[in-house]
Structure formats: structure tokens, C-alpha cells
């Protein structure tokens, strides 16, 4: 069982719970093949597809603003059979029925592939932020948040979460060939649901940081802690550290004397 498999089950349970609670839950099934996915899409997908910025005046709807809240994370597993390739689930209202709205936004990308490993984790994290690769869709450049804008023109042409989901599948499958299956969950139903999803996100993030650390360790770097001086006896900075310790000792002694006097 992979480190994140448990959370795939938690996400599935989360969706079922929302369904039971009477939220509007819609599912779309599309072909998992990137070439097939491109057919019939109302917007272009790929590097440079979104040529310009989406300015405030050109915005049809905003997703995940700091006011509305956002939560986004990827989940990956080596057991692709845990996923239904090409499935997109939406909890809450869609984009085209939300003109002028600022919706809360949750996005979970569930990815499977027998060859996936720690090394791909960082790429999955970073690829969530699609920069200029989806026409009519702009993720704002602020870390730790999935805050995006959908342009008026794109919405008019039919851009909605099914399109966004397909675009993400195209981009991920093209960038990371080890991906065999991919599912996407979007959530716009409200802050309370988002909070619940964030509970899962936080645990995933903690594990994700450790996975990224392992990948960096394999390349010879520790991104979390300085581990250069694991063994003081072999560290070239030892004399400096010894000097500092001596100075601290002298200083403490002086302070003690002062206090006693």
C-alpha cells in the first residue's frame, strides 16, 4: 500500500458523504487518452495556450480567492486500479452557472501509475499550477492557494469544470508519461465542505513534504534540515563550533557571577 493510498479512500468517502448530505454531485466520464481528450474541447491546451492575462474586467468567475477559500492537492498511487481513468466529479455549482461569482474552490488530482515514485511527487505538485497552458483560465500567482480566474470569452465558448478536468488530464499525462490513470475532483459547494477537504489536504501535505524530502535526499540535498554536521568529528566547522561553545560557557559563567554578586 502506498503512502497516500489511504487518502484516496478518504476522498472517496468525502464525496459519498457530500452526496448523502444532499449536495449537488455531478460526474463526467471522458476518454482517458490525451489525444481523444483534446477533441471537441472549446479551448486550446498546451504551452502558451493562454496568451494573455485575464484582467479583472474580463473575468467571468473567480475560484478560490482568499475570501472564498481554496484547497488543492495531488494524490498518487502505484495501484492505478484504485482509480477510474477519465472521471471528473464536481460537488457544487459549475462555472457557467456562476457568472460574476467568487466561488470556494477545491481541486484534488488523483493519479495512478505503476512506475510513479517519490521523484515524480514534486512534478505533480508543481504541475497543478498550470501557468499559461489553458486558454481562458489563469491561476493567480500566489503560493499555497489555488486562486484562479475564468475569462468571459472562455465561459461563453463552454468552459466549465468538465473542460478544466480534461485539460488537466491532457497536461499531466503529457508531462508525466508514467501516469496510467487520472481522476479529478472539484468542489465549489461551500466553505464548510472546503474546510473538511482541507483536513485531508493538511495530512497529505505533511506526507508530501516528507516524500519531497526523500527525493531531494536521493540527489544529495536535505530541504528540511541542515544535516551537514551529522558527525561533528568529520565536520570541518568543528573548531568554529567549539569556539562558540567556549564563548557561551564564559558568558554564562560571567552572568552567574553577576547574579551571585
Amino acid at each position: 500500500m502506498g503512502a497516500l493510498d489511504l487518502y484516496l479512500k478518504q476522498v472517496a468517502a468525502f464525496v459519498e458523504e457530500r452526496r448523502r448530505d444532499g449536495r449537488q454531485v455531478r460526474a463526467f466520464q471522458c476518454d482517458g487518452d490525451p489525444q481523444q481528450l483534446r477533441q471537441g474541447l472549446p479551448v486550446r491546451v498546451g504551452p502558451g495556450a493562454n496568451a494573455g492575462l485575464i484582467l479583472r474586467a474580463d473575468t467571468f468567475a473567480e475560484l478560490g480567492s482568499p475570501d472564498a477559500g481554496s484547497s488543492a492537492f495531488p494524490l498518487w498511487t502505484r495501484d492505478a486500479s484504485l482509480l477510474t481513468d477519465g472521471r471528473i466529479t464536481l460537488i457544487g455549482p459549475g462555472i457557467r452557472e456562476s457568472e460574476g461569482a467568487s466561488l470556494p474552490f477545491g481541486q484534488v488530482l488523483m493519479i495512478g501509475g505503476t512506475e510513479l515514485g517519490d521523484e515524480e511527487h514534486e512534478a505533480l505538485e508543481q504541475n497543478q499550477y498550470v501557468a499559461d497552458q489553458i486558454e481562458g483560465y489563469m491561476i493567480r500567482s500566489t503560493p499555497g492557494r489555488m486562486w484562479s480566474r475564468v475569462g468571459r470569452d472562455a465561459a461563453r465558448r463552454g468552459f466549465d469544470f468538465d473542460v478544466l478536468g480534461q485539460a488537466l488530464m491532457i497536461l499531466f499525462k503529457s508531462a508525466i508519461p508514467q501516469i496510467e490513470a487520472m481522476e479529478v475532483l472539484f468542489l465549489t459547494s461551500g466553505k464548510e465542505d472546503l474546510q473538511q477537504l482541507n483536513g485531508i489536504a493538511e495530512q497529505v501535505r505533511t506526507i508530501g513534504t516528507l516524500i519531497a524530502r526523500n527525493a531531494w535526499l536521493a540527489r544529495g540535498y536535505d530541504i528540511l534540515e541542515c544535516s551537514l554536521g551529522v558527525d561533528c568529528r568529520s565536520c570541518s566547522d568543528k573548531p568554529t563550533c567549539d569556539d562558540i561553545r567556549d564563548v557561551v560557557k564564559i558568558r554564562k559563567k560571567k552572568l552567574r557571577k553577576k547574579a551571585d554578586a
Binding site: Q126, S141, G144, I223, L224
Partner: protein, 432 residues
């Protein structure tokens, strides 16, 4: 009251004169960017005037740092200045190199960060306004506490109460709660030593105003993603930072300043007007700008190479909306903004993860052609992550260049040496 009675104001008054001179050069300009600069300089002069008046009248004021929740001082109507002000805000003053030499003549090692060295010199030479109390900064670098130690031993400063918020290492909830409690202690400290009271309604008001400023700053940053970028090194991050942290934190004037900034940038983006006539290289300068000799390098980069600084470390201040619905949440979000989001503190205080993620995000979002780590001689902590930054850039397939310079002293690596180095690098990488 004359300067003779307050020798510690000599430099402060000279700086004010310098800024007055700069102000006079832009005050009647029709150029929108100059008009904005005029506002920035007016804010700056207001700060100088307020501090000088406090010294002369004996009113309370604080010496503090950037990213120490300046909204608190706004809410308490408490004038403040940044202890390391000269190297950052007034580094264009013509006597900066003489002051660096004087600092060395005092025996301060030339391997110590020049910003800290200069600030120590200004304390020891009695050239900094002596405040009612001090808020120090134990992060992001280990060098800053040396300045605090000098303050504690200087005969004129040693009796001034000092508070240093203790920064946790990790970026988790426990750290956030801990730092929020530190900020509360800081507020109590300010009340105790200035006689001003913190009215929570006023704090809420200041924070709501600063929320607007940060939202507008974020909006402005989106505009810098445009190709060509509407502005380069001469307008952007540094000014946004000083307005939100030093001049108009949580004040309406600052919000209006941001609105004007966006208006100018939106016009340029809509008309595809860039910072230079032909933008050929989009730079991410991952540190402070070389404030001490900025005019010797950055205009040359634009003119010679069409190289536009699209983003820099201090322009990238992630937007955290501070939730003012409850007092507890307000302190917590304030802690997040000042500990996790604040530039340089964000990268150099704790884990190296932010170096990786910030580079990855900015390179993609801003269509960056080259990442430059200037390698300021004082930023040894950051330089320890050069390998990680290089590796990140390699994966992103974007050239990475580490320079090695002193942001304040042009003699450490001269502008000519740097121009040669950068030109060689750009040529080798096929840029421009």
C-alpha cells in the same frame, strides 16, 4: 531645537535632505510613474518628519524592523522607523561608501553583512535616532542579533527596552500559534514602553486596510506576468514593500497609492507597452536589489540586453488575507503574514522548501528566462542553498546564475566585473 542638541539626527536629517532633492526632481512631472514616485517620496518624507519631530518634542516612537506587524504601530498611532533603515531605504545617499569605510575603521569585519555593519556603525557613531523602545528581529539571518548585542552594550542605547519575537523553525499550526502569542507579547511591550494603548477596533481597521493593500499588490503582480512586463526594476516590489511595511501600513493613503500603481500598469498592459522598447530577457532576481549601486547595473541590463527584472524576492509577497472576524484569528493570520509570507524571512528562516517552490512557481507564472541569485556576501544562509536552487532550475530547464556581490558596496564585485560576467553568461546561454 537645533541639531546640536540632537547629534544623533545628523544623518537622519541628511537623508531627509536627500529625499527632498529626489522629490523636487519628480514633483512636477507629467509622467505617471514619476507622479507615483512623488507620492512614495512624500510618504517617505512624512516618516522622516514624524521621527524628527518625536525626537525634538520628546514623544514616543519605536525603532523596529520590517515584517514586525507594522499595522500594530498604525493602530497605536505610534511613529516608527526601521533600525536598518539607511542601507535599505536611503542607500542611494552619496556618503554611503564613506560610512562603510568608517564602519570598517571601527574594526567591524568586512565579511559581516554590510547592512548590519552599517547599522552597527550608525549606533556606535550616534547617528541613529534614539527611540523609546526597540523591536528587534531574530530572523531571517543570524547576523541581525549582532546588531542587537551592540545596541545592548552601547552607552546611549543600552537602557532602551528591547523586544524580540521568537521565530519558530517549522511552518505548521503549532508554530503559527506560538508566533501569534509572540506578537501579542510584542503589543503588550509596545503599550508598556510607549504609553500608547492598543485599541482592537483600530487594529482591525488597520488590518482591513492592509488587506486591501495586499490584494491590490497581488493584482499588480499579475500584471507583471504580461509580456512585455509593464515595469522593470525601477518600479514594483521595492516600492510596494516600503509602502506596506514602512510608510503607510494599514493606512488609506497606501491603498490609494496601490490603486494608482495598478491604473498605470493596466494601461501599459492593455497597450502592450513594456519597461523597455524590446524585452528580450525576463529576469527573476532572487534577493534584494543592489540598492547601494543600483543605477550602475540595472539600467545597463535593460539597455544593453533588453533584460527586464520581472520579479524579485521582495516583490513576491504572497497574499494572506487576515480574517478579522475574531481577535484570535486576527493574531494568527498576522503571524502567518509576518512569519511565513514575508520575503527573505519566508525563504531564509526555516526549511529550504520555499526556495524550491518559489523558484518553480515564479519561473512558470512569469515566463522567466533566467534566475539570478545575486549571492550577497551577507546572505550566507541563502547561499547555502545554491545547490538546491541550481538543481531546481535544471529541472525547470531555466538557466541559473549565482553572482557573488555586495548589495551595498560596489567595490566588492564592481559593476564592470558583473556586467562582464552576466554578458558572458547570457551569450553562453543564447539569451537576448
Amino acid at each position: 531645537m537645533s541639531t546640536d542638541n540632537h547629534p544623533e539626527l545628523v544623518r537622519y536629517r541628511s537623508e531627509r535632505e536627500w529625499f527632498k532633492l529626489l522629490h523636487s526632481q519628480v514633483k512636477d512631472s507629467d509622467v505617471p510613474e514619476h507622479q507615483l514616485a512623488e507620492r512614495t517620496l512624500t510618504f517617505c518624507l512624512d516618516m522622516y518628519n514624524r521621527i524628527i519631530a518625536c525626537v525634538e518634542e520628546g514623544d514616543p516612537f519605536v525603532a523596529t524592523y520590517y515584517c514586525s506587524a507594522p499595522e500594530l504601530c498604525t493602530a497605536m498611532d505610534l511613529p516608527w522607523y526601521m533600525v536598518m533603515q539607511t542601507p535599505f531605504l536611503a542607500s542611494s545617499v552619496p556618503y554611503l561608501l564613506d560610512d562603510i569605510d568608517s564602519a570598517e575603521a571601527m574594526g567591524l569585519g568586512s565579511d559581516l553583512c554590510t547592512a548590519i555593519r552599517l547599522s552597527i556603525y550608525y549606533i556606535e557613531a550616534n547617528l541613529s535616532p534614539i527611540p523609546s523602545c526597540i523591536v528587534g528581529l531574530l530572523y531571517p539571518c543570524d547576523g541581525a542579533p549582532m546588531l542587537h548585542q551592540v545596541i545592548q552594550h552601547n552607552s546611549k542605547w543600552r537602557d532602551i527596552p528591547m523586544f524580540n519575537a521568537d521565530p519558530p523553525y517549522w511552518d505548521d499550526d503549532r508554530s503559527l500559534d506560538y508566533f501569534a502569542a509572540e506578537l501579542r507579547k510584542m503589543a503588550q511591550f509596545l503599550e508598556q514602553h510607549t504609553g500608547r494603548k492598543l485599541d482592537m477596533d483600530k487594529l482591525k481597521e488597520a488590518i482591513e486596510e492592509s488587506n486591501k493593500q495586499f490584494a491590490l499588490w497581488q493584482e499588480y503582480n499579475e500584471l507583471r506576468r504580461a509580456v512585455p512586463s509593464p515595469h522593470g526594476w525601477d518600479l514594483g516590489g521595492s516600492q510596494c514593500f516600503s509602502v506596506t511595511q514602512c510608510y503607510r501600513a494599514g493606512q488609506k493613503g497606501g491603498t490609494d497609492w496601490f490603486r494608482k500603481l495598478i491604473e498605470i500598469a493596466e494601461h501599459k498592459v492593455a497597450n502592450k507597452i513594456g519597461a523597455v522598447e524590446k524585452e528580450r530577457i525576463r529576469l527573476f532576481w532572487f534577493d534584494l536589489l543592489p540598492f547601494g549601486w543600483i543605477f550602475d547595473l540595472l539600467p545597463w541590463l535593460e539597455q544593453e540586453w533588453g533584460a527586464v527584472m520581472v520579479m524579485d524576492m521582495f516583490g513576491n509577497y504572497p497574499y494572506t488575507l487576515i480574517d478579522t472576524s475574531s481577535e484570535e484569528q486576527m493574531w494568527r493570520d498576522l503571524a502567518k503574514r509576518n512569519l511565513f509570507d514575508a520575503p527573505m524571512i519566508r525563504q531564509a528562516r526555516g526549511v529550504a522548501d520555499n526556495f524550491v517552490n518559489d523558484i518553480a512557481r515564479i519561473v512558470k507564472d512569469y515566463k522567466i528566462d533566467v534566475v539570478i541569485w545575486p549571492g550577497h556576501m551577507g546572505h550566507k544562509d541563502g547561499s547555502a542553498t545554491i545547490g538546491i536552487m541550481r538543481e531546481t532550475c535544471r529541472k525547470l530547464k531555466v538557466p541559473f546564475m549565482s553572482l557573488g556581490l555586495d548589495l551595498f558596496d560596489r567595490r566588492y564585485a564592481t559593476p564592470d566585473q558583473l556586467k562582464e560576467k552576466m554578458s558572458e553568461f547570457f551569450r553562453a546561454m543564447g539569451l537576448g
